[in-house]
């Protein structure tokens, strides 16, 4: 592939578009740090649908997700001056703040006392209705998917469900009917395998 064609490939265009979108987020975060409420609203409009969807998936409750989204954006406003672009993408920073708040909410509330979260231990590789709960089309997504595919079904399920749905070791152990030590071991070994794989694509 020539340099010119590489520059015009769909994945490159997607990457350019993604970078441009992140530049906008950076600009709005910086402006929010200076007290620009208009920029803060733009930041909210651009990111809240993704963050809200993530929180709903994590907290399994519209009410809790709305509350967590509210608290997360107050935190984003209060901490906007701490964002450092060299530490990663703006969207990832926003996602991390929101996910951490969601996880704290999980810690405080016993959200898992629900019947509809039962996983079938015979089918641990399946995520309900969606084996991989994220879309392809982005370079990072494809790379992560390729690396997740290197894990066993059980281990992959533990990683994906803990990240996406906030399952703890104990909950995974209960649901999958496997000893907690096995769950911990799956997760930690999976993380090391993932890191090695992801670094191989870097």
């Amino acid at each position: 592939m020539t340099t010119e064609s590489a520059q015009n490939s769909p994945s490159t265009l997607t990457k350019d578009s993604s970078n441009k979108a992140d530049d906008n987020l950076i600009e709005w975060i910086k402006a929010s740090a200076s007290g620009d409420e208009g920029a803060f609203k733009k930041l909210y409009d651009a990111t809240s649908p993704q963050l809200f969807a993530m929180l709903r998936r994590l907290l399994i409750s519209d009410e809790l997700a709305e509350e967590a989204l509210q608290e997360s954006f107050v935190k984003i406003w209060n901490n906007a001056s701490e964002y450092q672009p060299q530490n990663g993408k703006a969207r990832t920073w926003l996602t991390s703040i929101t996910r951490n708040h969601g996880i704290d909410t999980l810690r405080k509330r016993n959200i898992r006392e629900r019947n509809d979260l039962q996983m079938d231990p015979q089918d641990v590789g399946e995520h309900p209705g969606n084996p991989m709960p994220f879309a392809l089309g982005h370079e990072n997504s494809e790379r992560l998917l390729l690396c997740l595919d290197q894990l066993s079904e059980s281990a992959r399920s533990c990683v994906v469900r803990s990240y996406c749905e906030g399952f703890s070791h104990e909950e995974l152990s209960d649901q999958l009917q496997r000893p907690i030590g096995t769950i911990k071991s799956w997760i930690r070994r999976s993380l090391l395998t993932l890191k090695e794989c992801l670094n191989g694509y870097a």
Partner: protein, 272 residues
């Protein structure tokens, strides 16, 4: 190939980002992140690596009423900060004019509550306070306490140490002022974190050299309220204060049963 030690840190950082690191282990790791750049970088790696699972998902528009609630909460914070700054400045002025003998120590320390504020004159002051390092904030509070103690005629009302319990954003949650002679500990709630109805925050004194902890009592839960507790030991014998999350009646054991969420260093105050 990474060493076993590096692999352990990678896995620990990965579990932190996954969310499977919970309880005290998560609390401790978060404290490490504040001081260990290498651990922080490992977390950044995992945040970036796993982000497609959070970022490339089917979006759902939140209800229209959420954003107004966010702005209302921010405005309420700003109004509270403005009022706190005004009250603190008024207190300082009064103390300067009168010799300031009887103002409760903890009221004055309210001004060090570092919440970020914008779009007002007071914001600039708050920004200035917010940018102070924790140590500087505590030192400033100690100085204020010391200043206010000077004209006090009764030794029983004089604090000889103070402590500010901070959260991870370095916001002041409670201010503690202690008198070792009387064993009185005055506690003022500045911005106590919200609790569920069945929960409480319990204060502990942490002894040096891993010699264990001793319960002090339950902390006030409403901002602006003050409580006086009796210290189980002198502040000289303790390394720091710690706050754990407990059931409403506090820990049933002599040690925390919930996660230790916050700490506050004990700062001796020089009295004349």
């Amino acid at each position: 190939m990474d060493t076993p030690d590096e692999q352990w840190w990678d896995a620990q950082a990965g579990e932190y980002v996954l969310g499977t690191l919970r309880g005290a282990e998560r609390d401790v790791f978060e404290k490490i992140l504040k001081v260990d750049q290498e651990a922080f970088n490992r977390v950044l790696f995992w945040q970036q690596a796993l982000s497609p699972m959070s970022e490339n998902i089917d979006e759902i528009e939140p209800p229209h009423y959420v954003f107004p609630k966010i702005t209302a909460q921010i405005q309420a914070q700003q109004a509270q900060a403005k009022a706190s700054v005004k009250a603190a400045l008024d207190d300082t002025t009064n103390n300067s004019a009168t010799g300031g003998s009887t103002t409760p120590l903890t009221n004055t320390v309210v001004k060090t509550s570092p919440r970020r504020r914008r779009s007002s004159r007071s914001n600039r002051l708050w920004k200035g306070l917010t940018t102070l390092a924790t140590a500087a904030t505590i030192a400033m509070a100690a100085l204020l306490v010391n200043t206010l103690n000077q004209p006090t005629s009764s030794a029983t009302t004089t604090a000889d140490s103070i402590s500010i319990v901070l959260n991870e954003q370095k916001e002041s949650l409670w201010v503690l002022s202690a008198n070792s002679d009387t064993r009185e500990l005055h506690i003022t709630a500045l911005n106590p974190p919200t609790l569920e109805a069945h929960q409480s925050h319990q204060l502990w004194m942490v002894k040096p050299d891993d010699a264990g902890v001793t319960s002090v009592g339950l902390l006030p839960t409403t901002a602006g309220t003050t409580t006086t507790l009796t210290l189980p030991m002198s502040t000289n014998e303790a390394k720091l204060f710690a706050v754990s999350l407990e059931v409403l009646t506090g820990s049933a054991l002599a040690v925390p049963t919930g996660p230790v969420l916050y700490t506050g260093s004990i700062i001796p105050v020089q009295n004349p």
